[in-house]
């Protein structure tokens, strides 16, 4: 029986910036982007569920974020997570990776006796890949990053493949350990219909009316949350205050127009293009 914590983040779908999300000036309208489950966090969750399916265990998905992040936690329940928790507080706003990892690490310590922590390699909104290792440092666990395959696991150890850029490394590690997982590692399962029926009413306490509340409580529909005070955190280490990095300036990237020479699609036009390429580039070093 392993106790497995999965770190999950809700992110704007930056990979699919299409027409509607572009403003007239060529910049991205961030508000128009749909919020999704960070893709590699789904791979981390899948890995946790695979381990649980085979050797048994409890899969707990935690996410630090605004109330809206309930969506990905419900999705986690649909996929087969045993428990979820939303770590949410206005005081967490504008946290950089140092402040975020502090909060997540304290939440993991609070859960206690965690054997395995799994996280996506990186989130697609920031692409920093820092939070996983920084959590590992704070909870004092061994880490393996860029895990591209789970090869073998027992109650005592895990054997994984790590994408070492120029080489693939086959690594054996004992528990406790934190792994960051890449998209190559597996294919996340679909939500389970029975679980969707079981959990579709799950929501934050505040979203139930007084009348509904007792029914919600009886049926276990209330999604657990955790605030800064619940975790007994130091305010100075949370959110903007606890973040050594500050965003000094943000510039939206605009498409720049340049000198563009257009060619037609007649064979003579294409021949001209080929000649222009040959003249300047082929055989030139």
């Amino acid at each position: 029986m392993k106790k497995i914590v999965v770190l999950a983040k809700q992110v704007p779908d930056t990979a699919n910036v299409t027409g509607d999300a572009m403003k007239a000036d060529g910049t991205v309208n961030r508000a128009a982007l749909p919020a999704i489950f960070n893709p590699e966090d789904l791979n981390a969750l899948e890995m946790a569920l695979m381990i649980k399916d085979k050797i048994g265990g409890e899969v707990i998905v935690i996410s630090m974020g605004p109330p809206k992040a309930v969506e990905i936690l419900k999705h986690s329940l649909y996929m087969g997570a045993d428990r979820v928790m939303l770590i949410t507080d206005r005081k967490f706003a504008a946290a950089d990776t140092l402040a975020t990892s502090y909060v997540l690490a304290e939440a993991i310590k609070n859960i206690g006796n965690v054997d395995l922590v799994l996280a996506g390699r990186q989130a697609i909104d920031g692409d920093t890949a820092q939070v996983g290792p920084q959590v590992a440092d704070k909870i004092g666990y061994n880490q393996v990053t860029y895990v591209s395959k789970l090869k073998e696991f027992t109650d005592d150890y895990l054997i994984v493949e790590r994408d070492g850029e120029v080489q693939t490394e086959v690594i054996k590690t004992v528990y406790p350990v934190l792994l960051t997982v890449t998209a190559e590692a597996n294919t996340p399962r679909y939500p389970n219909c029975r679980k969707m029926l079981q959990y579709f009413r799950v929501d934050l306490k505040d979203n139930f009316s007084e009348d509904e509340f007792s029914v919600a409580e009886e049926n276990d529909w209330i999604l657990p949350t955790c605030s800064m005070d619940d975790l007994g955190l130091e305010e100075d280490r949370c959110g903007l205050k606890g973040s050594p990095t500050k965003v000094h300036k943000i510039k939206s990237i605009m498409l720049k127009g340049g000198d563009l020479k257009m060619y037609g699609t007649e064979t003579t036009d294409i021949r001209q293009l080929v000649r222009d390429i040959m003249k300047d580039y082929v055989g030139v070093n």
Partner: protein
């Protein structure tokens, strides 16, 4: 303004990774105008064979600790050793390559030092900030490359940043700094070794963007893995390398090693031919520094035309075969 640069080698050929040279030069341009020096820190089983080259790009000293137990990336051991070296140098700036090693170890150190770290910077410069004096300004794309953020670490030292390979350019001229390497004494602790490396399988490198003058890339518009053959043929005919957008990789037209962009490789060839690539910001982040860009796309409104120098609006599956025919004739 003293800089420390993490020096890394390719374990397969025992040579420096290019990013170590690139960052040494970058650190040199940041530190020396303010009277600071650049110190390299290295740990592993043995020094890279060509580490003398670092001194041609502005390094003053290379501090190192080697032990055969460090042949592989034992994150916790690396963290303790490098952190001890950093503490002993007390630099203002610490730079790591945003490699799979740098991105593993650097965050551990930043966490332990409780300082700020900015990942995957594309520009670094020094300037004044309020009453704090000179600080490091770190520019990086975020939000899938749709914004460019300038990040600062005004109140903590060191200011840490990672930079991807190929982003900072090497100068043509070489410096002639004396080679100075120093062993750093470390009280090695066996408990730092937590993982067992059972097997190492070198990756066969199929793609080499660094030495390619021409890159021919295909995107979603190529339509199928079968059609992607045209991209390969055009690349071969021009003596170039095959690139791809993330969409082409996601659709399975081509292997991920070929991906160019924010999450793939950064390339800057003399000529970049984008075929059936719309030119999302993700992709542009990896290729817009190319000297010349040719776009072939069915959609006249595709954003790629905004950065291209030459363009054809049309079906690449019709245009490329004609190009191949003329390339044969002209060549």
């Amino acid at each position: 303004m003293k800089s420390v640069v993490f020096i890394e080698k390719n374990p397969i050929n025992n040579q420096l990774r290019n990013v170590s040279l690139e960052l040494t030069h970058k650190a040199y341009t940041l530190s020396t105008p303010l009277g600071g020096e650049v110190v390299g820190i290295f740990t592993g089983d043995s020094l890279p064979e060509n580490c003398d080259e670092l001194f041609q790009f502005g390094m003053s000293r290379l501090v190192y600790f080697t032990d055969e137990r460090l042949a592989h990336l034992h994150s916790i051991a690396y963290k303790h050793i490098l952190e001890t070296m950093i503490n002993s140098e007390s630099p203002d700036i610490v730079l790591f390559g945003a490699t799979h090693t740098g991105r593993d170890v650097a965050p551990l150190i930043a966490s332990s030092l409780k300082t700020g770290m900015t990942a995957d910077c594309t520009q670094l410069y020094i300037d004044d900030y309020k009453d704090k004096g000179k600080i490091l300004y770190q520019m990086r794309p975020a939000f899938g490359g749709n914004i460019l953020a300038t990040i600062i670490t005004p109140d903590h030292r060191p200011m840490m940043a990672t930079v991807r390979e190929g982003v900072m350019l090497l100068p043509d001229e070489r410096l002639n700094f004396p080679v100075k390497t120093e062993v750093f004494p470390i009280d090695f602790n066996e408990l730092w070794i937590k993982s067992e490396f059972l097997e190492i399988v070198p990756k066969v490198k199929k793609v080499d963007f660094n030495s390619a003058n021409i890159v021919v890339s295909g995107g979603a518009g190529v339509g199928s893995g079968e059609n992607f053959r045209l991209i390969r043929e055009l690349a071969r005919a021009l003596g170039g390398e095959v690139g791809a957008s993330r969409a082409a990789v996601d659709f399975g037209f081509v292997e991920k090693d070929h991906q160019v962009g924010q999450t793939g490789s950064v390339v800057r060839p003399k000529l970049y031919i984008a075929c059936g690539i719309s030119g999302q910001i993700q992709h542009r982040a990896g290729m817009e520094e190319s000297q010349k860009i040719i776009a072939i796309n069915k959609d006249p409104d595709a954003p790629i035309f905004n950065i291209a120098h030459m363009g054809i609006v049309g079906d690449l599956n019709e245009i490329i075969p004609v190009m191949l025919r003329y390339l044969k004739e002209e060549g």
